[in-house]
């Protein structure tokens, strides 16, 4: 099985799976912290509308985990503060 990194941990994923789906299967619910009150956020609408599942992928901010396919070797971090 292929893997990507989330906050340093190896997360396995199926071919064609979204990043959000792989994280949820691994039991990881918190994708980012809200900007004002630093509260945890996760996947909400699942189809790219709500931008609540934003993560930092290879240093690029505001990437929607529900839309983007997982790929080998990606380095993903929780998004804090920005939006």
């Amino acid at each position: 099985m292929k893997h990507f990194k989330f906050e340093g941990d190896e997360i396995p994923f199926n071919e064609g799976e979204s990043i959000a789906s792989a994280l949820l299967r691994a039991g990881i619910w918190q994708f980012r912290e809200s900007r004002k009150s630093q509260q945890p956020r996760s996947l909400f609408c699942g189809i790219g509308h709500c931008y609540d599942c934003m993560v930092v992928i290879n240093e690029n901010i505001n990437q929607r985990a529900c839309l983007l396919e997982a790929r080998e070797g990606l380095s993903i971090k929780r998004q804090r503060g920005v939006n």
């Binding site: 064609g16 949820l24 918190q30 996947l43 699942g46 509308h49 609540d52």
Partner: protein, 446 residues
């Protein structure tokens, strides 16, 4: 003739299936990686969920622009130019005619705790199951109001039964409205016996699987766990469009809550085109004539943006628009579809009468509940922008409170703030956004 279809869901695909029979070139734009829209969402590599449209996806007469975000459409001397971003690059193409079929977004109602991880829209759960084959969570609750809860329950239950390894289960189903309200759709049921049978078949499915729908109940709060995820819900009685607060509240432990209050048209594309809209069941919808023509010459609209009605109605509307685009509006084929559209519209309107969210939902929701999730603006901050600061529209309230100014650009909160704006006297609640999606300056500068 060059035709562009914006949206590869049921309406757009149905239109394409008619158009390929004529001497026209067809480009289809969609922000997702494959055809089908939300309704026919399927896993990569799986065959198209509806066999009627299977052969279209690799038809030589159609050019597909997937993963493509249309951010601007300009009027030209004789047609329209579509500007879109694909793979980080700008593409621009000119067309004689446009069909806008950009669909709907799910409606959510704010409830304390709805921003917690573990709470998602019913559509999100449906897309995780259908698109990814994943069911997150173990104790699952489905709640809200409307017919969309039915297919979500069925998809979820079927998936749970298939995978014996998972210990996940549905622990509660809560529907705000009672079944008795279906008399409001009696005319629609008589005209659409297929739909009546579908409803009966679903009720039988529930009974067979020992699933109980608790009607007249609504989630009034989601409690958080130590790790700040959803842990428990508070369930309150819902009568005459209001919460009945008091002793009868129940509590239920759960870790995944899928909520839905139906759908509302996504007017992002219609608003960059400045198409005329009208109010229907409190939703702003694109104004069309009997051939699906909009207020602008050369632009047609079909599907959910012309009024929520489901995929079968969207197919008919797409087909009727397609016949008119190629000058066959008076054909028998078009007339037959118009009759069918009339029958399906009556059913859809009946559903709206049963399940329409009250325009005054905010009167019974909590004062400090977050309405704009992106900018974390509460119900009372938005209400006081109208009552104290003198805001008179969604737009002015946004300038005072930042509600709708975050990353989602109001896609989630606009419809909810609109209800408040209408109460305080403003008819001007039109979506007013000149750009159709999130675009970076870098992508535009290339």
């Amino acid at each position: 003739m060059r035709i562009a279809i914006v949206g590869a869901g049921p309406a757009g695909i149905a239109a394409a299936r008619i158009l390929i029979k004529y001497e026209v070139s067809i480009d289809v734009y969609d922000q997702y990686p494959q055809a089908g829209g939300q309704y026919w969402r399927h896993r990569k590599g799986e065959s198209f969920p509806d066999t009627r449209f299977e052969t279209l996806t690799n038809h030589s007469k159609i050019s597909w622009f997937f993963d493509c975000s249309v951010w601007q459409i300009e009027s030209e001397k004789d047609g329209y130019s579509i500007h879109a971003i694909k793979d980080g690059k700008q593409i621009s193409n000119q067309y004689d005619s446009l069909l806008v079929a950009s669909g709907a977004v799910e409606r959510s109602l704010p409830v304390p705790g709805w921003t917690l991880p573990g709470v998602m829209t019913a559509g999100a759960l449906q897309s995780l199951i259908k698109g990814q084959g994943v069911v997150p969570g173990n104790r699952i609750v489905i709640a809200g109001s409307g017919p969309f809860l039915f297919p979500v329950i069925e998809t979820l239950q079927k998936t749970l039964r298939l995978s014996n390894s998972t210990k996940a289960e549905i622990v509660g189903i809560f529907e705000a409205r009672r079944l008795s309200r279906w008399w409001r759709n009696s005319y629609g049921l008589i005209l659409n016996p297929d739909k009546a049978l579908e409803a009966l078949r679903f009720l039988r499915y529930l009974r067979k699987n020992k699933l109980k729908v608790n009607s007249g109940r609504i989630i009034s709060k989601v409690q958080e766990s130590k790790t700040k995820t959803a842990k428990e819900i508070q369930i309150t009685s819902f009568k005459r469009e209001k919460l009945v607060k008091g002793a009868k509240d129940e509590y239920l432990e759960c870790d995944l809550i899928a909520m839905s209050y139906g759908f509302t048209p996504d007017l992002t594309i219609p608003s960059i085109l400045n198409l005329k809209t009208v109010n229907r069941f409190s939703d702003e919808i694109v104004l069309i004539d009997s051939n699906q023509r909009t207020s602008k010459l050369g632009i047609w609209a079909a599907g959910e943006i012309t009024g929520i009605g489901g995929h079968e109605l969207a197919i008919r509307e797409g087909e009727i628009a397609a016949f008119d685009i190629v000058g066959k509006a008076n054909s028998l084929a078009s007339a037959i579809r118009k009759l069918d559209r009339w029958r399906k519209r009556i059913f859809a309107d009946g559903l709206a009468r049963i399940y329409k969210v009250s325009d005054r939902w905010f009167e019974w929701s909590a004062e400090d509940v977050i309405v704009c999730r992106c900018e974390e603006v509460s119900r009372d901050e938005i209400l006081s922008s109208f009552t104290e600061l003198g805001a008179d529209s969604v737009r002015t309230s946004k300038l005072f409170t930042r509600a709708g100014m975050g990353m989602c650009q109001g896609r989630l909160c606009h419809r909810n703030v609109q209800d408040m704006a209408r109460l305080f006297g403003s008819e001007n609640t039109k979506t007013n956004r000149p750009i159709g999606g999130a675009v970076t300056l870098g992508e535009l500068s290339d």
